[in-house]
């Protein structure tokens, strides 16, 4: 396959800018697309070309497949990079791009369907000998009460087409099952237009650990050191780190071997992530595969020295991975990522769009800031609230924690509310400092000081 001359980025914000940066380093021309609300965004000015594709609502712009394809056609792009979110895991879009004679920088539609659809991915994991949590055999139907008994409580009800924590409900006993089942199905129907659900045993106080991998079309699969994303609020990750404080070298090798087995069984090509739930006893269960570049990919980049976007481009051009074999599991130092959102942590994380009056980013040793924001930029209210990823590297975890504190206190933003003060609080959390955080740590941390403000829907 020929080398790309021009790539269109079907995304916005920091990730579009992230992709443009690698394209520029590789000497490939970039095409940004934007909605009317993003005319003054940095990804538009950073690209070699930019095309307005529609009005502000995502359904008419960043999710408008015909408009994006049309933009790729008129600009003569030979490939489309979907970023994360929006159309990045949409098999129909991947297919439409390929049929238009343009390369989709991501897995083929068949791989999105087999690995990206949770119930089929789970079946594939079982077949390839990757440990999974006890759960229902595929989707549950009318006899769901019997299926629940077989799995055993507590039970997690999950939407087959779900993601990002949407369409998930916990039933702790038989008495709760009917109500939670109804809630999960209506959320799934509303969120994904598909009310299919399945059951999994709910693991108490688990860690969220994931393996980044890359697979090329020559049969090479490389696994990279794990990322620990246990610091989540309602299934939305806020802090990610690598390596995980709960994973040693032997466990890392077992995690990587499981991920590689699954990827090889699926015939996947591209970069992706296998997510595992790790119990307090160091057992791990396969959760799901993300068939895209993830928000937290820089964490892996800083401990391995890789550029994962570059790997994606090499793979999509038909080339081989730049690194293969056991050496890809070697960890250099420690990395922590803080997702900075335009939200008010004191008002239940309500979005805080508006104009950024001043913007003083941190710098100095070991700091990487991926952000599209600048002083005077107006954060639109139409899209998600991520405004920056502060990625901190240091030789060891304690130095990384100190560096995070230093960088977050340097980071000054006015005009909008941000989660910067909340990240400073996380760095005071005893469980996080000790490296024993689980996926419930953040919720306990936010609920503890305000027992009167009960969350309306703790599992949403």
């Amino acid at each position: 396959m020929a080398e790309f001359k021009k790539v269109l980025i079907a995304n916005r914000g920091e990730i579009a800018l992230r992709v443009i940066r690698t394209l520029r380093e590789m000497g490939i021309r970039s095409v940004a697309i934007y909605s009317e609300a993003d005319r003054s965004s940095t990804h538009v000015s950073a690209a070699d070309e930019a095309v307005c594709i529609g009005p502000a609502p995502a359904g008419q712009s960043y999710l408008n497949q015909a408009a994006i394809l049309s933009a790729a056609k008129i600009t003569g792009a030979d490939a489309v990079h979907p970023g994360y979110g929006f159309l990045s895991e949409n098999a129909a879009f991947s297919k439409a791009v390929s049929e238009a004679g343009i390369v989709f920088i991501g897995p083929p539609p068949s791989a999105i369907q087999s690995l990206g659809y949770k119930s089929t991915a789970r079946e594939l994991a079982i077949r390839s000998g990757v440990p999974v949590t006890p759960g229902s055999k595929g989707l549950v139907s009318k006899d769901f009460e019997k299926a629940a008994q077989a799995v055993g409580y507590p039970i997690m009800i999950k939407a087959a087409a779900g993601g990002g924590g949407k369409g998930m409900r916990i039933a702790r006993s038989e008495g709760e099952l009917m109500h939670q089942m109804h809630m999960a199905q209506s959320e799934a129907k509303a969120g994904f237009g598909d009310d299919s659900v399945y059951f999994e045993r709910y693991v108490e106080r688990p860690r969220h650990v994931e393996i980044q991998f890359a697979a090329d079309s020559h049969g090479n699969v490389a696994a990279f050191p794990e990322r620990d994303c246990s610091m989540q609020r309602r299934h939305q990750k806020l802090v990610e780190e690598s390596p995980s404080p709960g994973v040693n070298k032997a466990l890392r090798q077992r995690l990587a071997a499981s991920a590689i087995k699954l990827v090889k069984a699926s015939g996947y090509c591209g970069v992706g992530t296998v997510e595992f739930l790790m119990t307090q006893e160091d057992e791990f269960y396969f959760m799901e595969v993300n068939t895209r570049l993830q928000v937290e990919h820089p964490v892996t980049e800083l401990v391995t020295g890789m550029d994962l976007v570059r790997e994606q481009l090499l793979i999509a051009q038909g080339g081989a991975l730049s690194r293969k074999g056991e050496s890809t599991l070697e960890v250099n130092g420690h990395c922590i990522e803080h997702r900075i959102n335009a939200e008010n942590p004191d008002a239940n994380f309500a979005p805080s769009p508006g104009t950024v009056l001043s913007w003083t980013p941190p710098g100095g040793p070991g700091i990487r800031l991926d952000s599209h924001v600048y002083a005077g930029y107006t954060i639109p209210s139409y899209y998600d609230s991520l405004i920056a990823k502060l990625i901190v590297w240091a030789p060891d975890r304690n130095s990384a924690l100190a560096r995070s504190r230093r960088a977050l206190s340097e980071f000054q933003v006015s005009g909008i509310n941000t989660t910067i003060p909340f990240h400073l609080k996380i760095l005071e959390n005893k469980d996080f400092i000790a490296g024993r955080a689980d996926t419930g740590t953040l919720l306990r941390m936010t609920e503890a000081p305000q027992p009167a403000q009960k969350e309306a829907a703790p599992c949403a």
């Binding site: 009317e36 095309v51 307005c52 594709i53 529609g54 009005p55 015909a66 408009a67 394809l69 049309s70 933009a71 056609k73 008129i74 600009t75 439409a96 238009a100 104009t355």
Partner: protein, 124 residues
């Protein structure tokens, strides 16, 4: 005029779509502008209305095999067809925003356009 009075004025103003307000009372006056207020409020008014591209794609003056007469100077009705935008698997119409005369043509047949790009200016 005290701070409470100012606060109630601005709170009320937020509920409206006003962007500029001049308030006078007992010889005092205060001028309030929201961030949506135009920087220059006395913009020259134009009698030309733009016909904007409804989509990103290729502009076609007429359907394949047909021809479209010269548009410049033509009298048009509101919503009159001025051409098409071709997209993969779809075709969208470009219509006149008002009745009047086509004064400016900014597009040629077969050229790429983006969403919201002015294609014609119509004089009402």
């Amino acid at each position: 005029m005290n701070i409470n009075e100012l606060a109630s004025i601005t709170a009320w103003m937020k509920k409206t779509d006003l962007t500029e307000l001049l308030y006078r009372k007992n010889g005092e006056s205060v001028e309030i502008r929201t961030e949506d207020a135009p920087l220059v409020s006395n913009m020259p008014s134009s009698s030309l209305s733009p016909a904007l591209s409804p989509a990103v794609g290729i502009y076609r003056a007429a359907l394949p095999g047909k021809s479209q007469a010269e548009l410049e100077g033509r009298k048009v009705q509101e919503n009159e067809l001025l051409g098409y935008i071709e997209m993969p698997g779809a075709r969208k119409q470009v219509n006149s925003p008002c009745a009047g005369t086509v004064r400016v043509v900014c597009i040629e047949d077969g050229k790429a356009v983006e969403y919201g790009q002015p294609l014609f200016f119509i004089e009402a």
